[in-house]
């Protein structure tokens, strides 16, 4: 491996480690991360079942809950992470070291992703076992590709948030958090995106496509349940590809700005002796 790439990899794995270790060392974590989200899925799925909705609807809800777990992780955990790293003094050590900051951020993302995959898997398993949701995608490969692209673009967005929140302060973070409920609605967490288009105007789901979660879920539902999508699958997949690259480049850009500004203002750390 080229030395720069090797260092990136080492840094990413090193920063993934505390997250994964935390997972194994917090005994209550498993209950909190698997049992609790399952409860709300069960409740909602039962509502659809009681309404005699087609079984795909239950599938849509379950996929929505699983995918939204990643969004929550990006927003709450990854977005606020650099803040925490700065306050504990680690950010300074990461800037000081020769490893690229993007490697550290990628490690934070990978750690969060690993944790959230467990949560999402629990939700999906519940759905498949309790509600007989059919698992017959048109192509497992395509499903896998869409999932991967969704994750890369979503966590790329999260890496960007991390720098932006530290750069603009807590207010930016609060603002995005205020958007949490509207985002549930806009991304079509609990219903197909076409339903939103029919209820409102096409511009709203179209705007929501900027959140990788939206395009990812819409495309995955098309592959998994052959349901009607808001956009054709073959537009959504390249869109996810573009967003993956775009958000990661933007994350790098903001990180550079963050580093420069912090050095100029003396704000890499909150305390000085």
């Amino acid at each position: 491996m080229r030395p720069a790439l090797e260092l990136f990899w080492k840094a990413m794995m090193a920063r993934t480690y505390p997250r994964v270790a935390w997972m194994f060392r917090h005994r209550t974590w498993l209950i909190q991360e698997t049992l609790l989200p399952m409860l709300s899925v069960i409740a909602l799925a039962n509502v659809y079942r009681w309404m005699h909705a087609p079984v795909q609807y239950i599938g849509i809800v379950i996929l929505g809950a699983a995918m939204t777990a990643f969004w929550l992780n990006v927003l709450w955990s990854l977005g606020a992470h650099l803040y925490w790293e700065r306050d504990s003094g680690n950010l300074e050590l990461y800037i000081l070291c020769p490893a690229p900051m993007m490697g550290i951020l990628a490690g934070m993302a990978l750690g969060g992703l690993t944790m959230t995959i467990v949560r999402a898997a629990a939700i999906v398993t519940t759905g498949v076992l309790l509600f007989d949701v059919p698992l017959e995608p048109t192509s497992w490969w395509l499903l896998g590709l869409i999932f991967l692209l969704t994750m890369v673009s979503l966590y790329g967005l999260g890496m960007m948030f991390a720098s932006v929140f530290l750069l603009f302060g807590r207010e930016a973070w609060h603002t995005v958090n205020l958007l949490q409920e509207p985002i549930y609605l806009m991304t079509g967490m609990n219903f197909p995106l076409v339903a939103l288009e029919k209820m409102t105007h096409w511009a709203i789901p179209a705007a929501a496509l900027l959140i990788p979660l939206t395009a990812g879920m819409d495309a995955m539902r098309q592959v998994l349940f052959r349901s009607e999508g808001f956009l054709n699958l073959w537009y959504e997949v390249p869109l996810l590809g573009v967003m993956s690259v775009g958000f990661i480049l933007l994350a790098k850009r903001f990180l550079d700005v963050l580093e420069r500004k912090a050095k100029e203002e003396g704000k890499l750390t909150v305390k000085w002796q």
Binding site: P3, E6, L7, K10, A11, M13, A14, R15, Y17, P18, A21, W22, R25, S88, G89, N90, E92, L93, Y94, I95, L96, C97, P98, A99, G103, I104, F168, G169, R260, K261, K263, E264, E265, G266, L268, K271, W272, Q273
Partner: protein
Amino acid sequence: MSELALRTDALGRTYRKARKRWWKRTDPAASKEFVALDGVSLEVKPGELFGLLGPNGAGKTTLIKILTTLLAPSSGRAWVDGLDVVADAKALRPFINMVSGGESSGYGILSVRENLWLFSRIYGVANAVINQRIDAMLAVVDLADKANSRVSHLSTGQRQKMNFCRGFITDPKVLFLDEPTLGLDVTAARNIRKFVKEWIAEKPGRTMLLTTHYMAEADELCDRLAIIDKGKLLACDTPANLKRQVQQHSIFELSHTPGSGGLIEVAGLPGVHQATTTETPTSIELKVLLREESAIGGVVQQVVQSGGRILTLKKVEPTLEDVFIELVGHGLNA
């Protein structure tokens, strides 16, 4: 330039006290500027253990942060190992490391060993050597028995020792230690000083910049040191040469009980160059620098006449503290 390990040229740093946002224009008159470092020029040769001595707020940490690429200078330039700390920051980082005594970095969920592993990996250190180096360093700071304890279960001092180890495991060419013994107990601080000296001697070309506000520590450790106060460099020389500046005076320490009229004034007496008083709960410690030794008679007389009772009186060798007082006009902790 390349033969110097560190060089600063009229280095300055100004902090803005008012909270300023870069996307908002703030009235420049409203934001107060504070000069933390003012035209500091220094040269340190490879192999030197160089000290920065100064009271709290002198600008020591600011200087270290600029040299370690963590802070942008407001004026002047600086080079470490021949590399410009601003322009060549990325090229410089593999060769340096920094530890500061007051830091609280690390992950509480991880063990000491895991933390040290993490912070070595980001320097690309191979797994095969990491464990060996960790064991060696933990033995130095007497923390081997805590290697597998979670950091959240450590005391502040133990955590500080762990961070001390962190700086050495990456085997830097230039190491910056910012008050490494701050708050450590006497034995731990002594072990650390001993190790620091061995480390420098072990491999030629290693350089260390150490800040401290403990005079004795600076005296014991440093090949050369710079005294700074309020961002300005006041003197830069070997400890012996610095002390020579005050050697022409005879120095006495006199401990006495308070006089009837409170503090006893001796500074104006004939032959007295300088006098500093420190009050302890039980006595008053008086330190006088005399132009000629015979002037001590007048000092003793003054104390006794003012109602003070002399507890002890001894002649002492000059210390860096005396140099500092001579340069700054007040004690280090005043």
